[in-house]
Every structure is written in C-alpha cells, then in structure tokens.
Symmetry: C2
Subunit: 452 residues, 2 copies
C-alpha cells in the first residue's frame, strides 16, 4: 500500500476567492421577505444585525468574492485542509470504490465552522463592531466564533441550546478558554427566552430559540451584531474554500468524484464542499451525483415543506424561502446536534428544488455504526454530523462491491468527535435509539407556517 494517502496543498495554493453559486444558477433563489410588509428585505432591514460587508455578500451576484488578506492570514493556521484517500476503509469494505474525504477537523476547534467565523469576525471588527452574539447547538459554531472573536479582539456571547449546554460541558469550556461568555438557552436574559420558559420551564431548547435570543440581544445594542453559523448565503459562500481546495486536490490525484456526499443541517458544510463541484457540473465539466444526507429525526429536505418561514422560533428574523419543518418544530435531541435545525439554507433548498442535488435521511444508529467503522480503519473518530454522510458513503461503496463498479466517492468529513465522545459511548453501550420523526408535531408546525 505505497500509494498516496493524502493530497496536501501549499499555503500558496490556498484559494483567494470565495465562490458565490448564486451567480451561476439558472434562476435566482427567492429573496427573504419582511414579515410585516411581505416585501423583499433591503440592506437597511438587516443593518442592525449584520455589518454592511456581509449584507453586500448576502445579496451579491458576483461569481467570486475576494478573501481579505487578514482573513487568509488566519485561514493559514489550518488551511489548506487535507484531502484523504480512505485506503484503509476501502480495504476494510473490500470495495473497488475509491473513497476520498476532505477533512476539516484540522482547524483549531475541530470543525469547518471557522471558515466563516473568521471572515464574519473580521468584517464586524473592520466596521467598528465590538461585540458579537450568536447561538450554538452542538457547540461547533459557538467554539468557532469564540476563536474568531478572540483573533480580532471582539467580545463574544453565545446562547447554547440547553440540552447541549448540559450534556457538552467541554464545549462551554472551549468557548470560555477563547474568552467568550456562554449562556444556556432558553435564558432569562431575553424576552424570547423568558416567553419560552414561562410556558416550558424545563425546555431543553432548540437552535430556533437560541437564534431568537442572540438576535434579540444584538438588535438591542448598537455596538453589537449577530453572527450565524449556517443557512445564509454569505455563510455558505465562505465555506466554498473547502470545495475549491478539493477540486485542486483531485487534480493532484488525477481523479474526479463520481459521487459527492455531505451531511446537511443548515447546509454550510455541504454547500462548502458541493458548490464548486456543482459549478463544474453546471458548466458540463463534471457528471458527479451530489447527495445531501440528513437525520431521520430532522429531515428538512426529504420531509419539510418548501415555503417561506422564520429562521428562528420567536419569529424575529426575515422570512426565508426554504425547506422547513416549521419554525416551531423542536427536533428530538439527537446526538448530531449540528443537524438539528428546523430549516435548510434557502440557497440549498432552491438548488434542491432545481433538481441539482439528491437527498436522503438516515437514522442515527446506522450513522454511528459507520462512524465506528471509520474510526477503526482510518483513525479519525468522525463528529456525529458527518457520520450521516459516511453511512451513505459506505452504502455506496458496498453497492460498488456488488456491481463491481469502481466509483470515486467524495465525502465531507467536517469535523472530529473529540468533544462528542459521549454519543459514541451511548452507541457502544446499546442505549442509543433511533428517534422517530415526531409526525404529530410536524403536522402541527407545518400548519402554523406564516403566510407572507
């Protein structure tokens, strides 16, 4: 087994532009609407929450956006990230498939999230903002923003979903080590949090609730802005450094993916890897099948409605046209906390509607089985989120074994599980269950979708 295990790029080969897929789509995604007027929101509506530079990126129709030098300097702490050929997993599966994984766990916080946290913190600092607020589910995003805020000297306040705050004390400690302040959500600090607690004193929270709290706090402080770790266009655009690097690494490998598989929660990791490949596909330079995998307990693409909905539970955000389970839907507290969001990125939802990608939902025990197999062959213990993609990836490789096809499969390994090991403990002990989708709750929450 002397053939190459990983494909590295030099710092000097790091992408210097983000790719904005909106410029290449056959039709533009529907705009966000103001919930009061039903009209498309303008920059002024968003100014209390985001710096001007990010608002401009959010609505940009430019194909490429320059990455500022000060952002590249921080990216260099871990980028370019490696592309691995999973030779040991291939051997364990006895498959003729060639399995590749693009690994983002090399970042300081162990996930892909700093790819957007760093530019978000940078643009805020550049416009004189001194305080960032955000929410976090699994804790990956909060950790990333805490790191990025420390890098540019901003203060950072994180509302962490209560279930995660209680179950993942290490995440809170990581954010605090970077200097951030962490609150469990729902909290008594905001009107949105107090309203939830009044009805549900024992609420374990949700991303939607935590977003409401962080948005409310940012809107109330002129020195503060809000930062979101997924869902929005600019976030997905920042993540395209992943896919741009992977394209160059496939050139080094003298190969190209037949199938690309990523996990989807809000869509940022998936979009980050997939969009540059989708550009190649739209231009006729690739025929890769591109597939999103989501948790069976929170299946926004496969079971959600494509409709205008709020991004948060309290209804403080603009209305976004997206695949949604309804903004009041609270998914079961599955271990892949990063995939536990009621909506899906509008850009990705639109692309799914255009028929450019496929989607699949998988239960969490199958995902963890894939995670354990991967760990024991490739060494890296995958975060619970990307085990969804790995499960589909292993299925595909086993189909290749049956058919004899030697497909090249690319998957997004967006992080490691060092801070998620209790989830593996639950799986190994046999106590993990496959949460059923709460059908009753889904019907109710879909019936409560807002009408723009």
């Amino acid at each position: 087994m002397s053939a190459r295990t990983k494909y590295l790029l030099d710092e000097s080969d790091m992408p210097t532009r983000w790719y904005n897929i909106a410029a290449d789509l056959p039709e533009p995604p529907p705009p966000p609407l103001h919930p009061g007027t039903g009209e498309p929101v303008g920059p002024d509506d968003l100014a209390p929450l985001f710096p001007q530079a990010l608002i401009a990126q959010e609505v940009s129709s430019e194909r490429y956006l320059e990455i500022p030098g000060a952002v590249l300097d921080v990216y260099r702490l871990w980028r370019p990230s490696p592309l691995f050929r999973a030779r040991r997993l291939e051997k364990a599966l006895d498959t003729p498939a060639r399995i590749y994984y693009k690994y983002e766990g090399v970042s300081p916080v162990g996930s892909h999230k700093p790819n957007t946290a760093v530019p978000q913190a940078y643009y805020n600092a550049a416009e004189g903002v001194t305080r960032l607020t955000t929410e976090t589910g699994a804790g990956q995003w909060g950790s990333a923003l805490a790191f990025a805020a420390a890098t540019y000297g901003l203060s950072c306040e994180v509302w962490q979903v209560r279930a995660s705050y209680d179950q993942k004390p290490y995440r809170k400690l990581m954010m605090e080590t970077y200097g951030a302040t962490v609150h469990p959500s729902p909290s008594e600090l905001t009107a949105a949090g107090r309203a939830i607690l009044a009805d549900h004193p024992d609420s374990t929270g949700s991303l939607g609730i935590a977003i409401s709290e962080a948005v409310e706090m940012a809107a109330a402080d002129p020195q503060a802005r809000y930062a979101l770790g997924s869902v929005l266009n600019h976030v997905l655009t920042h993540q395209t450094v992943i896919g741009e690097e992977a394209l160059r690494q496939f050139e080094l490998a003298e190969d190209s993916p037949d199938v690309l598989i990523g996990c989807t929660g809000g869509g940022s990791n998936f979009g980050g890897l997939a969009f540059p490949f989708l550009r190649e596909k739209l231009a006729g330079r690739s025929t890769a099948v591109i597939k999103a995998v989501e948790p069976a307990a929170c299946p926004t693409l496969t079971r959600g409605r494509y409709a205008y909905d709020f991004g948060d539970t309290a209804g403080l955000t603009p209305l976004l046209k997206m695949h949604t389970l309804g903004h009041r839907f609270i998914p079961d507290p599955i271990h892949a906390g990063g995939l536990r969001y009621h909506g899906m990125a509008p850009l990705l939802s639109h692309i799914y509607e255009l028929g450019l990608i496929e989607a699949q939902a998988i239960g969490q025990r199958d995902c963890f089985a894939a995670g354990v197999q991967f760990a024991r062959s490739e060494g890296i213990i995958p975060a619970p989120e990307p085990t969804h993609a790995l499960a589909a990836c292993i299925d595909e490789a086993l189909r290749c074994k049956e058919s004899g096809e030697s497909k090249a499969i690319l998957t997004a390994l967006c992080g490691h599980a060092h801070l998620d090991l209790p989830a593996y403990g639950a799986y190994l002990s046999g106590s993990m269950v496959d949460n059923e989708l709460a059908e009753d709750q889904l019907s109710r929450s879909l019936a409560e979708l807002p009408t723009p």
Copy 2:
C-alpha cells in the same frame, strides 16, 4: 503578514528511518539491571513483556533503524506533521524572537503518542501476539495504543490511573470507540492492584501502580505483551520522526533554532523532537540550547536522584538508571497527567548527566496562563503537558524583547487539549492551585530506593 505560517512536507519526504541517539553519545547509558541478580538484563528477561523486534531496538547500537512499510502506511494518516511559525503569538508578545512549534495534535488521537504506538502494535502483531496491555495516565497513551491495536487487529486492555479514569470520561470513551477495554487502576484484577487497595481503598492511583498492573497481566498470558508509552529507548527512538521532520522543515524555513524547548514526563515527546537536533549539535552543525521543562510538582530532572530504581510501584520491572523521585512517590494529581511519573527516561537522564541539555521546573498556573495566551493568538488550545514548554518559550521570547535579540525558538506542541478542557476550566475559574512538591514524601521515597 503575508509570510509563511507553516512548513509542510509531502508524504514522500516523511522520514523512513528512526534515529537512535545511543549510537552517537560519548559514552553509553548504563544498562537496566535484574533486580534479583544485579546483573544487566538480557533479551530473555524481557521476552515475556516485549516482542523480539522491540527488545532488539531497545539495546541497538545502530544509528538508524528502518521504519517498516506497514508502519509508514499508518503514519501517513497524519504525518508529516506541520511546523508552524507562531506569527500571531510573536505579535501578541511584541517580541523580535521567531517562535516555531512542531504540532503533533494532528494525529487521530490528538497527540504524539501514535508515533510509537503504531510500530509497537505492528511488531507485536508481526510476532503473533494477539493482546496488548498497557497503562495510561492522562489518557493520551492509552488512546494511542487503542487506535494502533485496532489498526493491526489486536485486542487492547488499558489500566487507566483512577484519578484520570474518574475525571476524564472522554478518554475512556475514545479508547472504547477504538475497541479497547479500560480498567481503573488500582484494580481488583491484579495482585499489584489488590495490594494497593488493601492499604489504600481510596487510592487515586499513579502511573507506577498502573504499570505494575499492566505488566503483571501481560506476564501471565503467553499471547499477551506489554506496551509502554514513554521512558524506554525504543519509545524515544520511534518519536524521532518528529525531530527529523522538523530539521527538514527548518531547511524550508531557511532558519535554525537557537533554543529548543520541550516538556518532559517520561521523556518521549522531548526526546522525539530534541534527539535529531542533538545529533546535529554533537556533530558541530548546531549550537542550539536544548531545554526540558517539567512540572514543579513532579520535578524528576531538577529534584530527583540519578539512581537505579524500578519503573513501577510494585517493583516488577527491571531496575533503570534514571532521574527518579522514588518508585513509591505518588505525585499530586496535577492536570498535566502525562508528566506525572516518578522517573525519567534513562536515555534522557544520561544525556542530562552528560550536560547536553538543561532542565527547569514550572508551576501549573504559569503553564495554563501560557496555554490561554497561546490559544487566543494561535487558535490551538495546547494540552496541559506542552503548556510547560510554552511557558518557558514565552519567557524566552520576552527576554528577547528586553535584550533585542532575535532568537529562533522551537517548541514541541505535542498535543491539543480537546479532552483536557476541564483543566482550563479550573484555571479560568481561579480554582487551580500550584501544587507544592511533597518534600516529606520525596525524602521518604528517596530513602527507599532499591540497592542493586
């Protein structure tokens, strides 16, 4: 800040030989002795514990040992590791010093330990061993051996120091994810463990005790062998891939270290980085000052005696000539669990006696202060062990600031702290204390040193 942040090597530039510094020392280190006869131990004495290949490496006088291809194949999962220039830390310190760190946290378990765990598992598997036993303190070593054992299909049983077993549940979960079995030590499974528990039912354990247990279990099973994560010659030799890579990376940087600083527990991380540079120094090609930093609560080099002593608490191992606090000395349960061992590698102790390296002891609060400063500038949260080296490194950089000297400082960042975050929590909350060295216990344990 457009200058280079990290120096990467291609897989094809990975070292293919380990460096055995014993071949280059002006006099050989004193041999291990049989505790019964007082005679040097021979291969037959060690055969119940180690495979022949490792015994041969332990006593080898060859300068270079070939790394087997099957080991290189696994090394490729994370090696070569990056050498970073800490430009953001330099800026934060406003120092003219050039600070470099060789980062081993990119391995699947987040530390340098797999560099020796992998070859140890490989040689055992090659000789038909089916079961490995070992001990672990902080959990880094146990995790590494669990990963390596999974790689070669061996079963793996780990005795984890009770204090760590209780405080670091994530470590246990990581080992179990790789398929290992973990016991708290002292345990009722061994005579050594039962003897300790009879006298001290609430014993929080020590590395010395856990070694006794793992050695006892291996010796009793012809299919089993024992694996040690530090201290022994072959372990330090395996780790020299770190320093060999760093030498090549300094060539890329067109620089060379004036000062090299590493932390020392058993000595494997330090030796791994330092020995190749020491070779250059002995050959007159380098003038680098080489410094070992140890915890003030467990100061084997600076306060221990250079004498023959047992490697374990129960006295089951051969006698090793080393810097020791006495094999019955039980250090305070400091957060840098990997540095909490009563002895120091005989090879490193010998090198220290030859005056080839310096040593310094630092209290844990100063170390964590350095760790937090590093995290907030460089992003990576350092494991508690290498914060000792970072504290000395920052001191050196600040001296450069005063003197105006622009020294190149190289430090060994042997792992990240993702599984050690409660230690940072203790530091940030102000509850961390600087454990005093237990002087009374030290006097007693030194008085009990065996006489060969």
